[in-house]
């Protein structure tokens, strides 16, 4: 700033000199000189430019430059004139208009490699303006004061605009991920099994690539964790210090993969509550650094801090570089494991044959669209009821079934309970016919026979089925469990009790059955619809990878562009460039 002020009087009060300078400048703008300029500029810093201008620039900077290195960026930025960006929020962004011909004169790497440079983050050009981000409002304000003060070599005053704005959007496509991966492998010490990701957002390698990848962004952090899981699960030490992290949730997925991780360095981040460590529960950490996080100041004394850490990570023996007294634990031998789940249980082959035959016929008819034929399966005095449950208030519940749901925890009125319990085969079959069309997934079925008497048998079928319909919503996957009580009739049996439970499929079921819809022989929704569904799913996944947006926004973007991938990508790029995509789109 002082430079700016001192240089102006110099021009204003000494008319002769100013004129000379300006004339000289104009003269320098012929083609020959311009080539020169570029040539020298490519070689390095401002010194070369000084040579090229034969001292002109020196006159602008007076002799102060050599004394005050801090102003170097301004010198280099002296091509800036104007900026036309409109984002506002919490990060200062500076910008100036660069005559495009000057870009090469000032290679990006010069600016970015300079240690004292303020052009820390994502320096780039938008149209004629050079746009970059600075971290602090003070820095931005300092830059702003130079608006109209610095004279460019062409004699124009350079305009500088500053705006508060959110950190730049960080999209993740395959290419970016690949570069992040390379950068991570450079930072991995194989001998020590140490991955040093400290100050990752200022990584010079990534900066050279023009990539801004702050771990404080959920999508970036998750991607980095994913790369760790895939490539270095043997990791023993992880340094994440100085990354402005305010949440540790993405690390939770390391618990099951990185069993060897013993040391975690989280110093100098923005973790504000000790509860963030809950995401690390299960890691057998011995060493932890938390110093330099706001959460450390919330403890009255050292002992409560230590016990809060140990409560979550009981094996910690070194905290913030200090040895802790060894923990005394209990030996409860809690190594009990759940018995492995097995497939269907039948007490005998006869029973198995009988039930399998029944179910095959039953579900072919049930999924056929005409359930009237099920009449034969039911006893005259059969009973049927169904009940549903919603696992959490967040998910869309089985709305199509809810009005028939006889969940006794909710339906308390006994008349209503009676009405929801269908009695007699006609009532049962007509209730079944009213239910939405379905497509069961026979490969998901398990049958458990609970009780067999010559006169009565009960068994439970569970598995998944899909709704049938054109919209994605209708084709939702449901999990079910169906308890039957049957009595012998002729060579087979007839159903006397039928109780059906329906709920949203669990995540693992959705994962397992999403891409293998086996169309039933009767009511196949048609191969073309099925194929395009899978294709759409794959497109959404690819789009998510490329744009870094979450599933719903990716699907929305594709849907609005008639599932034309290239068109969608173009639209995304346009919107993204103009910062018109809400930040929720990148939250996963």
């Amino acid at each position: 700033m002082s430079m700016g002020r001192s240089s102006r009087p110099y021009f204003e009060h000494d008319d002769r000199d100013t004129r000379t300078v300006q004339m000289d400048r104009r003269r320098k703008f012929n083609k020959r000189n311009f080539r020169h300029n570029r040539h020298y500029g490519d070689e390095g810093g401002s010194r070369n430019r000084r040579v090229d201008y034969d001292g002109d620039i020196d006159m602008v900077g007076v002799s102060k430059r050599s004394k005050d290195e801090r102003f170097k960026p301004y010198q280099m930025g002296s091509n800036f004139k104007k900026n036309k960006d409109s984002r506002k929020k919490n990060r200062g962004k500076g910008g100036g208009n660069a005559a495009s011909s000057y870009r090469r004169a000032l290679p990006l790497s010069n600016i970015q490699s300079s240690e004292n440079s303020w052009f820390k983050i994502k320096f780039g050009y938008v149209g004629n303006a050079a746009v970059f981000y600075v971290n602090e409002v003070e820095q931005a304000n300092g830059l702003k004061k130079l608006n109209g003060i610095i004279t460019t070599p062409s004699g124009f005053k350079m305009s500088i605009y500053c705006q508060r704005c959110p950190p730049p959007v960080c999209t993740l496509n395959d290419e970016t991920q690949e570069k992040i991966k390379v950068c991570m492998s450079n930072r991995y010490d194989v001998a020590q099994k140490l991955l040093n990701l400290s100050n990752f957002y200022c990584d010079s390698g990534l900066k050279t690539e023009g990539i801004y990848a702050p771990l404080s962004r959920f999508n970036i952090f998750s991607a980095v964790v994913r790369i760790i899981k895939e490539h270095i699960p043997e990791l023993e030490k992880l340094d994440l210090s100085g990354n402005k992290l305010n949440r540790l949730e993405p690390l939770s997925s390391l618990v099951s993969t990185c069993k060897e991780l013993k040391s975690l360095i989280l110093g100098n981040n923005c973790l504000s509550t000790i509860g963030e460590l809950n995401f690390l529960k299960g890691l057998e950490l011995q060493e932890l650094y938390l110093d330099g996080n706001p959460l450390c100041d919330k403890f009255k004394d050292q002992s409560s801090y230590i016990s809060a850490v140990r409560e979550r990570l009981p094996k910690t023996i070194r905290l913030d570089g200090k040895d802790l007294p060894p923990p005394i634990t209990f030996d409860l031998d809690q190594t009990v494991e759940l018995p492995k789940a097995h497939g269907s249980y039948f007490p005998s082959d006869d029973v198995k044959l009988l039930i399998i035959q029944f179910l095959e016929q039953y579900y072919v008819v049930y999924d056929s669209g005409d359930r009237q034929q099920l009449l034969e399966a039911y006893h005259d005095h059969a009973m049927f009821s169904l009940f549903v449950s919603k696992q959490s208030s967040r998910e869309a519940g089985p709305d199509e079934y809810i009005h028939e749901s006889r969940n006794l925890l909710r339906i308390k009125d006994s008349n209503f309970r009676n009405r929801l319990l269908k009695f007699g085969r006609l009532a049962v079959v007509s209730a079944l016919s009213e239910l939405p069309a379905s497509q069961h997934e026979p490969s998901s079925f398990t049958v458990d026979v609970g009780f067999v008497l010559p006169t009565l048998m009960n068994f439970t079928v569970s598995g998944v089925f899909r709704g049938v319909g054109k919209s994605k919503h209708k084709q939702q996957l449901w999990t079910f469990s169906r308890a039957f009580v049957v009595v012998p009739q002729g060579r087979g049996f007839s159903v006397v009790n039928d109780n059906l439970f329906i709920s949203n499929a669990s995540h693992s079921q959705v994962e397992a059955y999403k891409l293998t819809p086996t169309p039933s022989p009767i009511s196949s929704p048609g191969p073309s619809t099925e194929k395009s569904l899978i294709e759409k799913k794959q497109m959404v996944e690819q789009f998510m990878r490329q744009t870094g947006m979450n599933e719903s926004f990716s699907a929305k973007c594709l849907e609005e562009n008639e599932w034309n991938y290239q068109k969608s990508a173009l639209v995304f790029n346009e919107l993204n460039m103009s910062s018109l995509i809400p930040s929720e789109a990148f939250q996963k």
């Binding site: 759940l338 309970r417 398990t446 009580v485």
Partner: protein, 144 residues
């Protein structure tokens, strides 16, 4: 006669509902907190098919459940139906079907459903319900 049959059935239905509700409440409470008592709820010759694992007899069932890790269950949904007398020769029997989430230590919380066949037996203090069959499943794909 027809009228009395209907009344009878309605009584049976509401009895099934009440008993089912009470049973489910007691069952999951004992399962989580007093596992050692759970086998008392089973008939001497009762059966359990737990995620495909077949266990028969009260004593074995008790042992099997005691060996499962600690649990925390969350009952979300429940239904119950009577089995009509004509099918069980007057041996009062109900079908109880429960569903919710269960968290076993060492495993993530997951969806489950469980269906029971309960039959009324003469106990020390009048009639008691005993489980004759119990089938339990996680709502998850089978491990490969």
């Amino acid at each position: 006669m027809a009228a009395s049959v209907i009344v009878d059935r309605k009584t049976q239905i509401s009895q099934a509902c009440q008993s089912g509700e009470e049973f489910a409440r007691i069952y999951y409470e004992k399962f989580d907190k007093q596992r050692h008592l759970i086998s008392n709820l089973y008939e001497q010759s009762g059966n359990v098919v737990w995620n495909g694992n077949y266990v028969t007899g009260r004593e074995n069932i008790g042992k099997f459940f005691q060996n499962l890790p600690a649990s925390e269950s969350d009952l979300l949904s429940l239904d119950a139906q009577p089995i009509l007398d004509e099918f069980v020769q007057g041996q009062t029997t109900i079908l109880v079907h429960a569903a919710g989430n269960i968290k076993f230590s060492g495993k993530n919380r997951c969806k489950f459903s469980e269906s029971f066949l309960l039959t009324a037996k003469q106990g020390n203090d009048g009639s008691v319900w005993r489980v004759v069959s119990d089938t339990f499943r996680f709502h998850e794909p089978l491990p490969t």
